[in-house]
């Protein structure tokens, strides 16, 4: 099952490169992946929990590297997100002009890399799958990007490469720090070693810091967020959807999957640092977002800012916070993908995304206006959308940590600040909505066509996904529930 999910996009990419028609094959391949992921989600049995659909192939005995696939609730949620956004991104791809086949292949490699990382239980492949997404990103931004695409492509590639190598050091150190008998890249082996106290606290602190920086660069944690807005602003819309929606979640997934459960001491030791940095994400980047004058840059910054909430959930390290973080990863992925998709459509029609040039588009593009409004509300976190359910859990989780520790703790201060962040994001998203879709219609845009029927399908798919999780968060929590108790039991005071 997982083998199919992991290899379908990669094989499709290879087929396209070797001559299959681009769009049809890509759509077919990504649809098959999405269907298989949903099937896996429904066939996952939360009662025993743990990793299911496991398949393993030994790569190196002496290093104990295995090609090991498996999924629990958390990975399934991420897989669903990845497959869904990949499918929508492929669907949203408009004729790209030059070397169309290469474009689709890059898109599929990007999505396939993320899917492979989410499905891997072996740290080596977990890392490797994510890294292969680097080169497609470089291509997508460099060849088909807009604006200052060359600079953006260099910046994102080198930034992410450096972050990845820091991460690699952390992973190697992790591998080396467990006792020889348990030395393995198999996550399950490492987990039992860590549960048995195999990793010394001092080592945990170092490794957690390395992982935090490594993953932090990939997630655009403040102050390593510099690459993100520019890259997302320059990237073609499908690439931005995939990168901001899915690939960035890789780092968060890594923190939830590796850093927290294996290094609880390290997490506790550095929680103050994480809190400071995530406040930077929410407040500083939030204010920067307010100042943006173009929709693509604004969305880029807002995707950086919203990472702060997920970090807050991770920092809380209790059941409700972690579940909230996991759901928020899903919710944010959907909403930001939808926003980038619509922004891309607007750019394609008008050739600009500067707020000052746009206005009154709601009259000529009612469906796009409606969809953008829904996506913006979702991103702000209005009740009914998945983001709301998730953010509430995150805030409860984070506030509780402070309450448990007596008095007005750092956690509570941060939570309050983060709540104000919601206001900031409401301000900029609503302002963006107003200046693009409301106001006096500009005569230039009177003849713009609305989203055609076929393009509405992915939009509706994404909106449905966020609404389902928003109204019935239990759809996600049902499978997530068995994932976290191990972590939480340790951090309960």
């Amino acid at each position: 099952m997982l083998l199919f999910i992991v290899f379908a996009p990669l094989v499709t990419a290879l087929l396209i490169l070797s001559g299959a028609p681009g769009r049809v094959t890509a759509l077919f391949g990504s649809a098959a992946t999405a269907i298989a992921t949903f099937t896996a989600l429904f066939r996952y049995d939360p009662v025993p929990g743990g990793f299911q659909f496991v398949s393993s192939l030994t790569i190196s005995e002496s290093w104990r590297i295995h090609f090991l696939l498996g999924a629990d609730g958390l990975s399934l949620i991420m897989l669903v997100l990845a497959a869904l956004v990949l499918f929508c991104a492929v669907w949203f791809t408009q004729p790209v002009g030059k070397s169309e086949r290469l474009f689709y292949a890059c898109l599929l490699l990007l999505g396939g890399g993320a899917i492979g990382a989410f499905a891997s239980l072996d740290l080596f492949f977990f890392y490797a799958f994510h890294e292969i997404a680097l080169i497609p990103t470089f291509f997508l931004i460099g060849i088909w990007g807009t604006g200052n695409r060359f600079a953006a492509a260099w910046k994102v590639t080198i930034y992410l490469a450096l972050g990845s190598f820091v991460l690699l050091l952390g992973l190697i150190l992790l591998y080396r720090s467990v006792p020889v008998t348990a030395r393995s890249f198999d996550l399950r082996v490492l987990q039992s070693a860590a549960a048995a106290g195999g990793i010394a606290p001092a080592a945990q602190n170092t490794i957690f810091l390395l992982l935090l920086i490594g993953f932090g660069v990939l997630i655009s944690l403040f102050p390593f967020h510099n690459w993100a807005p520019e890259a997302y602003a320059s990237a073609p819309a499908p690439a931005a959807m995939l990168h901001a929606g899915v690939l960035k979640k890789f780092g968060l997934y890594g923190l939830l999957r590796i850093a927290l459960p294996l290094l609880p001491e390290g997490a506790r030791h550095w929680s103050w640092l994480l809190l400071v940095l995530l406040s930077g994400n929410i407040i500083y980047v939030g204010l920067v977002t307010l100042a943006q004058k173009r929709l693509d840059w604004m969305l880029g910054y807002s995707s950086v800012m919203h990472m702060g909430y997920i970090f807050l959930g991770i920092a809380s390290a209790n059941l409700i916070g972690l579940n909230g973080a996991a759901v928020l990863m899903f919710a944010h992925g959907i909403s930001i993908a939808l926003l980038f998709a619509l922004a891309g459509e607007i750019r394609r029609r008008t050739g600009t995304l500067a707020f000052s040039d746009l206005g009154g588009l709601g009259k000529v593009m009612p469906f796009a206006g409606f969809a953008f409004g829904v996506a913006a509300f979702a991103a702000i976190g209005l009740p009914g959308f998945a983001n709301f359910a998730a953010e509430v859990m995150v805030f409860f989780g984070a506030f509780r940590v402070g309450a448990d520790l007596q008095g007005l703790h750092f956690f509570q201060v941060t939570t309050v600040l983060a709540l104000w962040g919601v206001v900031i994001s409401a301000v900029y998203l609503l302002r963006a909505y107003r200046s693009i879709f409301m106001g006096a219609p500009n005569d230039k845009w009177n003849a713009l066509p609305d989203l055609a029927g076929a393009l509405r399908i992915p939009v509706i798919l994404l909106i449905t996904a966020t609404l389902i999780v928003g109204f019935f968060p239990n759809t996600a929590l049902r499978v997530l529930r068995p994932t976290f108790p191990a972590t939480v039991a340790e951090s309960a005071p």
Partner: protein, 484 residues
């Protein structure tokens, strides 16, 4: 079952036969000799899998300066594989040889160009087995002598002549250092055999200073071979000026042999505390210089020259940590990706240039070559699922295990630089439009097969390293156990 020394003898005899036959045959297309050379080397390569177990090391006689341990066998195969690919490249390079060599006969010089690499190969194979300073010196000279000729082969080209002179003078100088160093070491220990030197050093009853002086001189010579800073001055000019197959040979074969010898020589000398520190400094300098100097390059061969210095830096990290297996694996990855890049350079340069801008829009002129170069560059940069990544992975692991924090930090920063200059080539090939008059590039089936093989190798060893780890297992005693 074949005795191990027979391998080198067969290679040497085969080279002589080809060289002699070439002198007496005029009518034949000289490329036949390259094919014959390839066939012979492939046969030897196959033969190397049916070796008789070596006799126990002796204190005198042949087996006191020749070893057939796994490391030696491994690098013999390595040298053979390199030479085979070099000969395939040389066939594609034949037109350039015709233009670069004066002579009435249109085929002047071709036969020698195909035969000389075989002698180098024999030298490299001996170097892999050498455990005695005398043997090291003699095999090193065999390698260098054939390189003197090969580097300046297209002698109508002034850049090649310049490269040849630089290589000759500096290489001769470094040989001088080597011999001088050996004499100092011999003077202190009274031995030239590495194992016996180790035994003398273990007794701790010697004068440190002259021994260190001798070792430093040897290190200078080996640093020249592996292109470590500050002995890298010759590399960019020679790499740029030499015929491309020879450049590839220099950058793979010569470097690999240098590292084998370095590993072997370090075995006994690692007992001196200063040696480790010296190597750390050299490794750090090499990493920094190679990577940063590569950033502004516009000529692809020059870029690859600096990149080869940079990779020497990563390899030196492995040497500092005495991680013989990691070094060997890295060299395999380096062999695959470097040969791949140079093979593409040979084919593209046939009707273009060697500047990076000549690669603009290569994907339209030949998607196959652009794809091959993409794989090569990505592997050199160190993206997972390629042999280049696993090499870096093992090296970094060794460094972390030994607590070489400084080298790890420098290594990570320079990897970032690497991404910039390797992706610069990818950018030219895929982003930029091709010049209007650029023809579609024709590729012979042989080169297509060789390039396909290299690409496959990069991916196979990038995912499944176990065969190489097994080939070195049990790890070579000198290289690996000495440092622990």
């Amino acid at each position: 079952m074949i005795p191990t020394p027979a391998l080198e003898i067969v290679v040497l005899v085969w080279g002589l036969v080809l060289l002699l036959a070439e002198a007496f045959v005029d009518k034949l297309d000289k490329r036949v000799f390259a094919i014959a050379g390839i066939v012979g080397l492939v046969a030897v390569l196959l033969g190397s899998f049916f070796l008789a177990p070596p006799p126990p090391a002796a204190s005198t006689g042949f087996w006191s300066f020749y070893t057939a341990d796994p490391l030696a066998i491994f690098f013999k195969r390595f040298a053979l594989a390199t030479t085979i690919f070099i000969l395939i490249m040389a066939i594609d390079y034949a037109p350039a040889i015709r233009m670069g060599v004066p002579g009435a006969n249109p085929q002047a010089g071709l036969g020698e160009f195909f035969a000389l690499p075989i002698f180098t190969c024999a030298g490299l194979m001996w170097m892999a087995s050498a455990i005695d300073f005398v043997m090291i010196f003699v095999s090193l000279e065999l390698v260098t002598m054939s390189f003197y000729v090969l580097v300046t082969f297209t002698r109508r080209n002034p850049a090649t002549l310049e490269a040849g002179v630089k290589y000759l003078i500096l290489s001769a100088l470094s040989t001088g250092f080597l011999v001088y160093g050996i004499t100092w070491i011999f003077g202190v220990t009274g031995e030239t055999n590495l194992a016996r030197i180790g035994a003398v050093l273990a007794r701790q009853d010697f004068d440190h200073v002259p021994l260190l002086f001798g070792f430093a001189l040897v290190l200078v010579a080996l640093g020249f071979k592996i292109a470590a800073v500050p002995f890298q001055i010759w590399v960019p000019d020679v790499y740029q000026g030499a015929p491309t197959p020879v450049t590839a040979f220099l950058s793979v074969g010569s470097k690999a042999a240098g590292f084998v010898v370095l590993l072997r020589v370090l075995g006994p000398f690692s007992i001196l505390p200063q040696v480790g520190k010296l190597l750390v400094v050299i490794a750090a300098l090499t990493l920094i210089y190679g990577n940063f100097a590569a950033l502004p390059q516009t000529n692809l061969k020059r870029l690859l020259a600096y990149s080869s210095i940079a990779h020497a830096g990563y390899l030196l990290i492995g040497v500092v940590c005495f991680a013989g297996t990691a070094v060997a694996f890295y060299l395999v990855g380096y062999l695959l990706m470097t040969l791949l890049c140079f093979a593409v350079v040979v084919l593209v340069a046939a009707d273009g240039g060697e500047q990076i801008e000549d690669y603009s829009g290569l994907v339209r002129r030949s998607p196959f070559l652009a794809g091959a170069m993409l794989v090569g560059m990505v592997s050199l940069a160190g993206i997972p699922f390629t042999a280049g990544f696993l090499g870096k992975f093992f090296i970094f692991d060794a460094a972390i295990r030994q607590g070489q924090t400084l080298l790890v930090v420098i290594g990570v920063i320079t990897v970032g630089c690497g991404f910039y200059y390797y992706l610069k080539v990818i950018r030219a090939m895929f982003w930029l439009p091709p010049p209007n008059d650029a023809p579609v590039i024709q590729i012979s089936p042989l080169s297509r097969g060789a390039i396909g093989l290299l690409i496959a190798g990069i991916f196979v060893f990038g995912v499944y390293p176990q065969p190489i780890l097994n080939a070195l297992n049990p790890p070579a005693p000198v290289a690996v156990t000495a440092g622990r």
